[in-house]
C-alpha cells in the first residue's frame, strides 16, 4: 500500500488505465513534456509516446472538439483543461456535443471521454484560477460530474470515469493536490460513479460536502462532537451529478437536519438542488430547514481575501449549531 498525495494518485490511475487500454489517450495544454502544470500527467508522454499523450495547441474548444471526434471513432480521450476557469471556452463543445452525441445518434455513437480540471481555491493564484464551477456541468443532461475528496477516491474515481462509456467531468481540488497522503491499494481499484459515501456516521445532523470541502466538514463534525456532543454524519458526495439522492435522503431521513457545504457561489448553486432534493425526499423528517454554507455570490475576490468567502470549519459549525437549535 503506497502512501500517495492526490497528484501522484491521479498520475497512477492514468498510468494504469493507459497500460490497460490502448484506446485511452491524454490530450491538453502542457500535459506532455511538462507533465501538466500540476504534474498530474507527469512522465506519461515518456512512457506512452507523444501520439498518446498530446501537447495540444492553446485552444480549449479545439481540445474538447477534437476529443469528441476521437471518441466518436472509438478512442477514449482523457482531456485536461488547465484550470476550470478556462473551460468556458469549450463549454459549447461540452454542452452541444459531448453530452448529447449518444442521444442525438440514438446510441450509434457515444463519447467515452473524461475532462479533467483543477478547480477551487487555496493556491495563491490569479483570477480564474480559484473558482468552483461544478454547477454548470451538473445541470447538463448526459454528463456525469465527479469530484473526488482525496488521493484514494481520486484514483478510484478517475479509473471508473475513464472506463465509463459516457462523458465525465472530473474536478480535482487544487487545495487537495498536495494536502495529504493516503494509502492506496497496490492493485488498481474503482468506485462506482453516482454513489455518495458516508465519510463519518452520526445521528443528529448530516453534513453534505465534496472535494476540498470534505475536510472542512469533517473538521466541523469533530468540533461539533467535542464541543457540543453532537453526533454528525458526513456525506462525501463524490459524484455531483447524477446526484445520489437515495444516500442523501437516507441520511437526512435519519438525522432530520442537514447542512450543505460548497465552494461555488450560493445562488443557483449545487446546494440548491441538494436542499430541494432533501425536501422532495425527506420533507416529513425535516426538523429544520436545510442550510447552505457556500462562497458568497461574488466573482473573484483576490487570493488575499479568499478565506473570507470560501467556507471554513467555524462557518460550518455555526450553521450546524443554528440547525441543531432550530
Amino acid at each position: 500500500m503506497p502512501k500517495l498525495n492526490m497528484v501522484k494518485a491521479l498520475n497512477l490511475a492514468l498510468f494504469e488505465e493507459m497500460a490497460r487500454d490502448p484506446d485511452v489517450l491524454v490530450l491538453g495544454e502542457d500535459v506532455g513534456v511538462d507533465g501538466g502544470v500540476f504534474r498530474v500527467t507527469d512522465d506519461l508522454q515518456r512512457k506512452f509516446g507523444s501520439q498518446r499523450v498530446i501537447d495540444s495547441p492553446l485552444a480549449e474548444a479545439g481540445i474538447i472538439g477534437t476529443a469528441v471526434g476521437m471518441a466518436l471513432y472509438g478512442l477514449k480521450p482523457v482531456c485536461e483543461i488547465q484550470f476550470s476557469g478556462f473551460a468556458f471556452q469549450c463549454f459549447h463543445q461540452i454542452e452541444n456535443h459531448a453530452a448529447r452525441y449518444r442521444a442525438r445518434s440514438r446510441g450509434r455513437f457515444h463519447c467515452q471521454m473524461v475532462i479533467r480540471m483543477p478547480y477551487g481555491g487555496g493556491v495563491r493564484a490569479l483570477e480564474h484560477h480559484t473558482e468552483s464551477e461544478e454547477q454548470f456541468y451538473a445541470h447538463i443532461p448526459g454528463l456525469t460530474m465527479v469530484v473526488p475528496s482525496g488521493p484514494r477516491t481520486a484514483r478510484a474515481l478517475l479509473a471508473a470515469a475513464i472506463r465509463d462509456p459516457d462523458p465525465v467531468i472530473f474536478f480535482e481540488a487544487k487545495a487537495l493536490y498536495h494536502a495529504a497522503k493516503e494509502d492506496v491499494p497496490d492493485e488498481s481499484e474503482t468506485l462506482p460513479l453516482g454513489r455518495a459515501r458516508v465519510a463519518r456516521e452520526g445521528t443528529d445532523l448530516t453534513l453534505i460536502a465534496y472535494g476540498a470541502m470534505l475536510r472542512v466538514a469533517l473538521e466541523a463534525a469533530d468540533t461539533l462532537q467535542s464541543e457540543d456532543g453532537a453526533s454528525v454524519e458526513v456525506l462525501d458526495l463524490l459524484t455531483i451529478s447524477p446526484l445520489d439522492r437515495e444516500a442523501i435522503v437516507a441520511s437526512v431521513g435519519k438525522t432530520g437536519r442537514a447542512v450543505v457545504v460548497h465552494e461555488a457561489p450560493r445562488s443557483f448553486g449545487p446546494g440548491a438542488e441538494i436542499a430541494a432534493s432533501i425536501m422532495d425526499g425527506a420533507f416529513l423528517s425535516l426538523e429544520a430547514p436545510v442550510r447552505r454554507v457556500t462562497a458568497y455570490d461574488v466573482s473573484f475576490v483576490g487570493f488575499a481575501r479568499e478565506k473570507a468567502t470560501v467556507p471554513d470549519a467555524p462557518r460550518v459549525v455555526a450553521a450546524a449549531r443554528e440547525t441543531l437549535a432550530f
Partner: protein
C-alpha cells in the same frame, strides 16, 4: 537585414474546368468512367428534385424547418464522390445531396426534419456523423476523427463541410490549426454560397478569398468553381489523395450560390436582389453538366421521372413510419439510465397511460403544431 520578404510567398489558385458557358478545359478534365459521370449526375439531380419536394413538404406542414441546397449540388456531390465508404463524411446542416449519396435513406432525413431524433441515427456501418446545427462546431470533430484514424493506422480520410459564414467562428480556426499541427487526413470543404443567412461575404470577412485562410495554418488552400462538378471533383480528388497519402489537410473553397431560401423560415427578398439570383441561375451547376453529358452521349432522358418516383416512395415510407414512443427520449441519455431518469420515465409513462390512448393522441407523438419558426412573410422562392 532590413525589411526582407520571408519565404515562402503565398498565392491562392482558382480551379475551373467546365464553365457556365460550357467551355471545357480538356487538359484538366478528370478521367472519369461513363458510369462515374452518370453517378455524379444522378446524385446531383436527385439532390435537386428532393430539395424541391422537401420545400413543398415543409410548406404543407408535413416536415419542419430545414435548409435547402438548390444550387450547391456540384459542390456537394463533386466532393463527396471522392470518398470511399470507409471514409468519413461530416456534414454541416446543408448537405442533403451529399448525405443521400453517402447512403442516408431519404425517409430518415425527412423523419429528422419532422422532429424525430431517430432521423439522425446513422446506420451501424455508416461512417458519417449526423448533421450538426451549431455552425462550425463539427469541424474539430472531423479533425479528431482523422487523428483517431491515423492513430489506429486506418487509411480513412475525413471530409467535413462548412459554409462561408462558418469560417468566422472560433471553432473553424481551432480545427484548422489542430489539423495543420497534427497533419491529419482531413479535407475541409467550404461551400461559399455568398451568404450566411442575410450576411453577404464582404461583411463576413475582409479577406479576398476564403481559401487564403488556409495560409494562416500552413495548410494548402484552393479555390474552385463550386458550380463545376468536374472542377470540384478534381480538387477534392487531389486533396483526398494527398490526405490519404499522409500529406495532411486541405481547405477547398467552392464558389457557389444558394439559389433558394436560407431555411424554410427565411425570406431572402429582404436582403438580396432578384437580379443577383437570376445571374447565378445562369451558372446553375446542373445545366452545364447536363449539356456536357449530352455532348458525350451520356444523357439519360426520363431520369427525372425515375428519381421522382423514388422520392415519392420514400415520402410514403416516411409518412407510414409509426410515431415512435415518447418514452424513447429516456434512452441514450446515458448508457444506463440513472435513478432520476428512471423516475422521470415512470412519470411520463404514468401520464401517458392516464391520458388513455397511446399514440398518436399522447402528448409525445402529437402531430407537430403549425406555429411557424418565425413571423415570416410568404417567400417568393
Amino acid at each position: 537585414m532590413p525589411r526582407t520578404v520571408l519565404e515562402p510567398r503565398f498565392q491562392v489558385e482558382h480551379l475551373s474546368i467546365l464553365d457556365s458557358e460550357g467551355h471545357l478545359d480538356a487538359a484538366l478534365e478528370p478521367t472519369l468512367e461513363p458510369g462515374e459521370l452518370r453517378a455524379l449526375w444522378r446524385a446531383m439531380l436527385l439532390g435537386r428534385r428532393l430539395d424541391e419536394r422537401m420545400v413543398r413538404l415543409q410548406r404543407q406542414g408535413r416536415i419542419g424547418t430545414f435548409a435547402p441546397i438548390k444550387g450547391q449540388e456540384a459542390s456537394q456531390i463533386g466532393s463527396a464522390a471522392t470518398l470511399r465508404k470507409t471514409d468519413w463524411m461530416v456534414p454541416s446542416f446543408r448537405e442533403t445531396a451529399a448525405m443521400i449519396m453517402r447512403g442516408w435513406p431519404i425517409e430518415k432525413l425527412l423523419l429528422l426534419f419532422a422532429g424525430y431524433l431517430e432521423g439522425a441515427e446513422p446506420a451501424p456501418d455508416q461512417h458519417d456523423l449526423p448533421i450538426t446545427i451549431p455552425v462550425a462546431t463539427q469541424l474539430p470533430h472531423a479533425v479528431g476523427l482523422a487523428y483517431a484514424a491515423q492513430y489506429r493506422g486506418d487509411d480513412a480520410v475525413v471530409m467535413v463541410f462548412l459554409g462561408d459564414g462558418a469560417t468566422s467562428e472560433g471553432d473553424f480556426h481551432e480545427a484548422m490549426n489542430f489539423a495543420g499541427v497534427w497533419q491529419v487526413p482531413v479535407v475541409f470543404v467550404c461551400q461559399n454560397n455568398q451568404w450566411a443567412i442575410s450576411v453577404p461575404l464582404k461583411k463576413q470577412t475582409h479577406s479576398r478569398t476564403l481559401a487564403q485562410k488556409a495560409l494562416a495554418y500552413g495548410v494548402p488552400g484552393l479555390q474552385v468553381d463550386g458550380n463545376d462538378v468536374l472542377a470540384v471533383y478534381a480538387a477534392a480528388r487531389e486533396a483526398v489523395d494527398r490526405a490519404r497519402g499522409g500529406g495532411g489537410p486541405t481547405l477547398i473553397e467552392c464558389i457557389t450560390y444558394r439559389l433558394g431560401v436560407h431555411t424554410t423560415a427565411d425570406d431572402p427578398t429582404k436582403y438580396r436582389s432578384d437580379e443577383e439570383v437570376r445571374a447565378w441561375e445562369r451558372k446553375d451547376p446542373l445545366t452545364r453538366f447536363r449539356a456536357y453529358l449530352e455532348a458525350r452521349g451520356l444523357g439519360e432522358p426520363g431520369l427525372e421521372a425515375t428519381l421522382d418516383a423514388e422520392i415519392a416512395e420514400a415520402v410514403r415510407r416516411f409518412e407510414a413510419t409509426p410515431p415512435a414512443d415518447p418514452l424513447a427520449m429516456f434512452e441514450h441519455v446515458h448508457a444506463e439510465p440513472p435513478a432520476h431518469l428512471r423516475a422521470q420515465r415512470e412519470d411520463l409513462a404514468r401520464r401517458l397511460a392516464a391520458r388513455g390512448a397511446p399514440s398518436p393522441a399522447d402528448p409525445g407523438a402529437a402531430p407537430p403544431r403549425a406555429t411557424p419558426m418565425r413571423g415570416q412573410r410568404l417567400t417568393r422562392r
